[in-house]
């Protein structure tokens, strides 16, 4: 009986699927790195060792303060007076609103205080300071 021996020529690795996979991974990491940098003002927020990384970040309003004491709503520069109606509008939509403050470590307390007073005056009392995990 004649047994068909496997063809010797076909032992080279098939590159096609591997390239497909690598491309998919590449696209995934490119998109992931772009998404994480979106919609954030570049500020050097302080480090802390006992802060908790949140699991649920829904229902948050992000405010940033840069080292020049400029306040941003998302990425939009605003003044305190402009900010109050914005917080009020968000608070009407979601009474459980939490306000995340991303302040630069060089910001003077006065700006933070004014911001906290602005939040308090429209009834938003649940505040969070963002820090980097040490």
């Amino acid at each position: 009986m004649k047994i068909k021996s496997p063809a010797r020529d076909d032992v080279s690795i098939d590159m096609g699927p591997m390239i497909d996979l690598v491309f998919l991974l590449l696209i995934f990491f490119m998109v992931a790195s772009v998404v994480t940098e979106l919609e954030k003002v570049e500020v050097e927020i302080p480090q802390s060792s006992h802060a908790k990384v949140p699991e649920d970040t829904k229902g948050r309003m992000m405010l940033s303060i840069d080292s020049e004491n400029q306040v941003y709503y998302g990425t939009l520069p605003v003044t305190m007076e402009e900010l109050k109606p914005m917080i009020e509008a968000e608070l009407n939509l979601n009474p459980e609103l939490r306000i995340l403050i991303r302040a630069d470590y060089r910001v003077e307390y006065k700006t933070c205080k004014d911001l906290m007073i602005a939040c308090g005056s429209v009834g938003a009392t649940d505040l969070i300071y963002a820090t980097f995990e040490e």
Partner: protein, 144 residues
């Protein structure tokens, strides 16, 4: 003449090996940068306005922490944090206060009163010390 003929006969094949090399390099680059992005963590607190007052059985123990312009921390007049980065003494003090409050069955309320010119980084250090000492009620004070 022979050389030209040979070149013409050669099949135009796409080299995929360099392509894969480049794609791998890009892949590694994006993987590394993605993992280098630091995660942001939370230090949350309530403004005093809405802290619910549920008829306390015991009077809560209130502590006022002042932060001066140059970063010196005063707890009820006692100075802490002379060493810039090490707040272990403050954490120890808060822990013993917390223990005292727990043993008497009352809450520990920490109020932070920073100077207008105190830096945010320093205030976060104080809040971090509160978190380390497991202080649940922490807020900012408005008046002297």
């Amino acid at each position: 003449m022979k050389l030209i003929e040979e070149m013409m006969n050669k099949k135009a094949e796409l080299e995929i090996a360099p392509l894969i090399d480049v794609v791998f390099l890009l892949l590694i680059y994006f993987m590394v940068t993605a993992s280098l992005v630091k995660k942001e963590a939370d230090l949350s607190f309530m403004l005093p306005a809405r802290v619910e007052t549920t008829e306390p059985l015991q009077l809560p123990i209130e502590v006022l922490i002042e932060v001066s312009e140059d970063g010196v921390i005063l707890v009820e007049g006692m100075m802490f944090g002379k060493d810039e980065d090490n707040l272990d003494d403050l954490i120890g003090q808060l822990l013993s206060l917390k223990e005292a409050a727990d043993s008497s069955g009352s809450d520990l309320i920490v109020n932070i009163l920073p100077d207008d010119k105190a830096l945010h980084g320093r205030i976060i250090k104080v809040m971090d010390a509160c978190a380390a000492a497991n202080v649940k009620n922490m807020s900012f004070s408005m008046t002297m």
